[in-house]
Symmetry: none
Subunit: 160 residues, 2 copies
DNA sequence: CTTGAATCCATATAATCCCATTGAATGGGG
DNA sequence: CCCCATTCAATGGGATTATATGGATTCAAG
């Protein structure tokens, strides 16, 4: 189980924010000795984060997609790697957000972590709520289908 | 993972500039006792830099290409190997940029380092921002696809 | 000499580490 | 069923270390 659900946390005047315990335990369980996360600015007023494996997969996917076009591959690498930063966790599981990231997402004293599977988002609680609402509106139709597929998966893996 | 993210640094009147700490620590970790970097002028108003290993790989690639297109390969070799300079780090982790490099990239008092994996770029903050924006615009269309591919990649290596 | 480059040193600032405190959740005993 | 220990997550503050940057000194060459 990867980054799932939404958590709130405080952002102090040193721009430190505690990563949700569930996120941390997954980081430690999957990649061994993962004492850091990769964070980059999103396309809107939020940040996105993931572990090294996902970043590597993104980078690799970009290269695969642009095999015949070296310049496009370079652009993709720049878009992905150029903006991301490696943020290490302190003893209490906190990361320090760079000044530019805080202003990009318009963060103040409280932030929300939104799990999206292999990666997650960081935004103000207001923006996070808005994202969730938008997502609900857009996926109302698909949601039923996803639920049906999930039910079948669970039933298959279940001897009963 | 190698040179990642974007960092700013000052360029003083002796043309000294501090290499980002992350870049330095990677140099020290990978190549043993790397107290220098190779830097060359880029195709636009920026510089490019890397460690010896990447230069060697470039040289090797040029030779591979020479079988198909000897003239192009020679020109590329000349541009990269001939145009590059070995810049050593001082005790504080700074390099001195040659006059010609500074004018090629139009650098003044602040510069940006942009990590691109095995190599990096040096440009004015304005040029760096423009490069990043161009890269984002160019990748925007394929971004969703890249994320989908990355999700699949991560899931494949993952039992869950 | 004068110029430029390389090395060394000093310091303000920012990042990092460490520990104390709080509060919520957990898990028994009474 | 309630109360009290225990644990762990989260937070706040202070001390330590690293970093970035400016300046001084030495050295070699023209």
């Amino acid at each position: 189980m990867r980054f799932v659900s939404t958590y709130d946390a405080g952002l102090d005047d040193k721009r430190r924010v505690t990563l949700p315990a569930d996120f941390r335990s997954w980081l430690k369980a999957e990649g061994d000795a993962q004492d850091h996360v990769r964070v980059w600015p999103g396309d809107g007023d939020w940040l996105e984060g993931a572990d090294d494996r996902f970043i590597a997969a993104l980078s690799q996917s970009a290269e695969d997609l642009a095999q015949d076009d070296p310049e496009a591959a370079e652009a993709a690498t720049l878009a992905i790697l150029g903006g991301s930063r490696k943020l290490s966790l302190d003893g209490a599981g906190r990361i320090v957000l760079p000044e530019t990231f805080v202003s990009h997402a318009g963060l103040s004293d409280r932030v929300s972590f939104v799990g999206l599977g292999p990666y997650f988002r960081i935004a103000t609680p207001e923006v996070a709520a808005r994202m969730a609402q938008t997502a609900r509106d857009r996926t109302a139709a698909t949601k039923a289908k996803i639920f049906a597929m999930a039910r079948r998966k669970v039933r298959e893996g279940d001897p009963e």
